[in-house]
Symmetry: D2
Subunit: 373 residues, 4 copies
């Protein structure tokens, strides 16, 4: 394993370079009997597709998915699901001049340092197109979660300095602006901010927030596979993410125990609930039944048309101006990637939790169709 596989029970192996024949993923561990079609996956892929607004790269890529295995007569069979998206809009020539030169903020130098050479066309494996495999697998994971009543929604909380305070969230507006922000007014301000960035041949970053609802209490494994630890790996593994925080996050570091603790209460339906949710739905690394909430910081797109100092592979100083079709901000397109990684992680921990109690085992293995035999 060299980093392109993820998940212990619901395991995925992604592959593909931006300018190779295609991008894809193999999912091993999807339960049998899940209704699944290419449309289910295409819906997710279309959310990350470029060329949809003027704040994203104008490249036109259809990113059409093909299911190569694991589905029969409309349902998953329990065997690996292989998903393929052919690359169709590569302009390799755009990148020829980057062959011997390290773009600041990119992985060009570190790939060379690691492997001795690299596929320099469009970032190769470190391209944003790598996320196609994640999103395709995330669509399958999300389908499993939907069947179990668990829902994941990510959205853009901030673009550059344009940040929406929680009190001003209008969740229904997320689908009404190109940035997936829960506040159309702030989205307008973000547009203006981005227009200014683009005029200066510059780029912007932002913050994505994610909420997971309907998750039973008890998910996450004590110690190293805590729910928050696993979500942190999953989300930090997305290129350009520079930080993650759960619940009150970094703000909690300045609070006192009396203001940070969430008091427990009994809900109207008689279950254990909390008066507040500073913890972000996770206590001791295990879900507590309330909304799981985290935020991820996304750095500004490193590809900018301004001139930048850099060096060549031959260790000579030079300068570089990056032209081409780049996103001035990747935050809106990354929203679905965050959802995908969260979905994959939650499914993996749901499966892990199945063997946490003897009573669960008995529930399954004392089924009539087993015991008769």
């Amino acid at each position: 394993m060299s980093g392109s596989m993820y998940g212990t029970h619901f395991s995925i192996a992604t592959w593909g370079e931006s300018h190779g024949p295609g991008i894809g993923v193999v999912i091993d561990g999807c339960p049998a009997g899940l209704p699944l079609s290419e449309e289910d996956i295409q819906l997710f892929l279309d959310r990350r597709k470029p060329g949809q607004t003027r704040y994203a790269t104008p490249r036109k890529e259809s990113d059409t998915v093909e299911i190569l295995s694991g589905v029969f007569e409309g349902r998953t069979t329990g065997t690996p699901i292989s998903l393929l998206v052919r690359n169709t809009n590569q302009h390799s020539k755009d990148y020829g001049n980057l062959k011997d030169c390290y773009r600041p903020g990119h992985a060009d130098y570190t790939f060379d340092a690691k492997y001795g050479f690299r596929d320099y066309r469009g970032g190769g494996r470190s391209s944003g197109r790598e996320t196609i495999g994640r999103v395709a697998a995330g669509a399958v994971a999300a389908k499993i979660l939907t069947e179990l009543g668990i829902h994941i929604q990510a959205y853009t909380k901030a673009i550059g300095p344009c940040s929406i305070p929680e009190a001003s969230y209008h969740m229904e507006e997320i689908a009404q602006n190109p940035f997936h922000m829960p506040n159309n007014e702030m989205a307008k301000q973000a547009e203006e901010y981005l227009d200014a960035c683009m005029q200066h041949q510059d780029s912007a970053g932002g913050i994505i927030e994610c909420r997971i609802t309907g998750c039973p209490a008890g998910l996450g494994e004590p110690v190293f596979d805590k729910l928050d630890a696993r979500l942190a790996q999953a989300v930090l593994s997305i290129g350009a993410v520079k930080g993650i925080e759960f619940g009150d996050g970094f703000a909690a570091a300045q609070k006192s125990g009396s203001t940070n603790n969430d008091a427990f209460r009994i809900s109207e339906s008689g279950t254990v609930a909390k008066l507040t949710n500073h913890a972000g739905g996770i206590l001791g690394g295990i879900s507590d039944g309330s909304t799981i909430l985290f935020r991820a910081a996304i750095k500004p797109t490193p590809s900018i048309a301004q001139q930048q100092n850099t060096v060549t592979a031959a260790h000579e100083e030079t300068s570089i101006t990056i032209h081409g079709r780049h996103d001035p901000i990747i935050v809106p397109r990354a929203v679905v990637v965050v959802e995908a990684m969260a979905a994959i992680t939650i499914v993996d921990l749901l499966f892990s939790n199945l063997s946490s109690r003897m009573e669960y085992l008995k529930k399954i293995y004392f089924l009539p169709d087993h015991t008769e035999k």
Copy 2:
């Protein structure tokens, strides 16, 4: 695997409850030939030991480590290293009243929700004593890193509102105050802040920063096992950590590409270097040879003597007052835990990187003692 194992190549399995017979760890994958003694490990354990200042629990625990296997004539043999620390100062009676009641901010409720019941004595497996296994394993990992010229140092950047700006760091002062802060003056202010907290039967949180130097460029695996992703899992898996950020972290979300990118340059010794380090030493999830830098947010200790609303296991509302010997802040004692988790992760990725190039394989398997055979 249910979450108490970590690492693919340098793998650890920790175990133990706060009020059971002991706590320990098994390390599988430590190379043969590393000089190792109980003193090496004890030095690390003593850094997390309670009872050393009035800002930590007054419990006296010697936390003496015993090496049970894997070391022969002062060197590691390549076989598993089992480390044991006996529990010696348990006052189980202190916790009897918590048997049926969920402490706010603790894992009591979530353990019950997961497993159906729990070892309620002192938090059981969710106790801070669980970190003994991590620190013991981290001492071994740190010893490997030292042999390779890699150094990890964590310290307290902030306690509550008392935060040290980077310009005021005096690294030599870290060892001169009880909080491991790189600024004795700020440590004094933190003392006053904590005294006030304790007077109000309240607790405090803070921020730990960590620097890794001497790390070769090329560590970290593209996609899911990015260096930052793995460090994020490792650090978020420590109880009470609510967030992590690398380099400029959340601040990068508000910056532009032109101010966030680190320009490359050629160092005096002719190698690739950077003019700045906004990235925190990691590009595309792979180390770039500069200092790796991250910060972790630690929440305030949830155990406070103030009365808090909560519920019982029988789902009745009640209130609770937690007495006992609790740390008003865990940040200073967590510094060495952060170092330990970082060390274990770096070692794991160093080992993973050994098979990244055909030339590395040839370097090892064309050694005379192999080829002769």
Copy 3:
């Protein structure tokens, strides 16, 4: 991971050398709520204990187990179970002369070739005492299986040339002779054979057979984690095992399809059954509900008192005579080790199978205590 960890869902990490302070195992992934006591484990350990017959080493080792974690008020808590057996009867001096000399048939040379040096006392990690960790973990796995109605029984089918044909099995006699053979008469012949071996300062091997009953159809994962593939790894990982076969095994290679296929039928209770069991209860790597059956070949003990040619660590030819307290045959003591490895493997695959169907997930996650929240 360097080979001392096993299992993906029910994971164990064993450790310990024959002449170090002790031997043990950490089990991560045991479900909560299993009744477990030290007696449960001791019963298994006592079956492998030496010194019980004159055909085993006369070393007296009490091999008393201590549960260090993971059990509270008589039930497992879901957290790691750490088990410790202290070494008490080491005569390190017995082995001093083996420091620089490679015993034929042992791992002395290969450990040196791998690690550069070795703990030469009693074989160190390659000693038969290493199996204590396996047997202790196997006792826990067997306890889980018993709760689910699955039963594993291994026994000695052959000692040297004294082999019992299946038609002559008397299963009730297994407990009536020192070799755990299902035929007391053949056990007598084996005694004579062993007496002759011992007189010639020689040793013997044999065959262990294992039957697993009550196992539901559907266990084992297609392709690489086939039930037989996993059992093969588990059993071949026991020192001295040189082969494994399932059902008719090597004999099947000489048969035709028409005589090797097992015809299906409907049992009296209306379930799918087979007229014969040439397959050994496994079809396509998945259990078919009938008895799982395999045989393992055990080589003769390599430690013999006859003079043997060998070489020194300094690469000089020499001869060696191995004195000390060695088993003339390890087959009878290995019976429980085979059972243990089978039990651990079956449990691991039972847990893996829990996420094989959407309907299983719904069975667990639509439990009232989850859906209310």
Copy 4:
């Protein structure tokens, strides 16, 4: 992970059903810098291709491989290698009558028992076509081994009763007969035996032997990842394999220590060698530098045209006659599959061994290009 992933360091994920769009594999962990072309892989695939002799299914499948990622300018990049073989010669109608009926000796029933339903066309995932992914990955592994001077050769030792004693091996004849037998005369007898089988609408099994030469001493991890244990899992995971033995294997069970032990000697070049190789090149689960040797028992093809008793999915007894294009023996086509699985396993253990000694680490991480930085 549900069984279609294998290997810890050199990891593969295979996928595909016999009658779906295609079959393939993703390899994660191939080192950068290995020369690799589609021809390298096609050579291996052509060895398992059907339709080449009258003793194999007459289906014509081109089984042409496409490299979808991980190779740039003729060399591996260190990122995942995705390989795709489109299915082109499916006759799904052939299998329509098998939809509701369980073929004896096949995985039809066990797949239904596991997943609740199955892709019944041609065996779906349990088809022999599944091995395409293994063979494609094995070609890459074999290429790595060749660069390191390690060579793997499998061949047919026996078909039904036609078994070649080791004294009659003529290795150069392996390539001269359709069965890959090291004795052309015995191959002739096997032809006659198979002709008789086919006349009786019956099938045959056999034994494949495999030799690995050039392997350094020191490979394999003590305890659970012993070299023989891992090879056993790898080979038993191939459909139709019913047993495996190393060196003298089951015959060793009848020998005495004095005749089974291999005496050590010093070779002419001054290295440690053995006078005999009863152990099959493995001591204590670790390679000893001599030839690694194992044998696998392959059952007769279960698909035969004779009428057989069986049951339906609705649990009614019936009989079945299997027509279609089936191999009367799969042994010759399985030879390259055994080689592939052995190659993948050896590479995985070679990589695992890289972190076995501190001196290896220093060899890599003290390279000038690292230490300068």
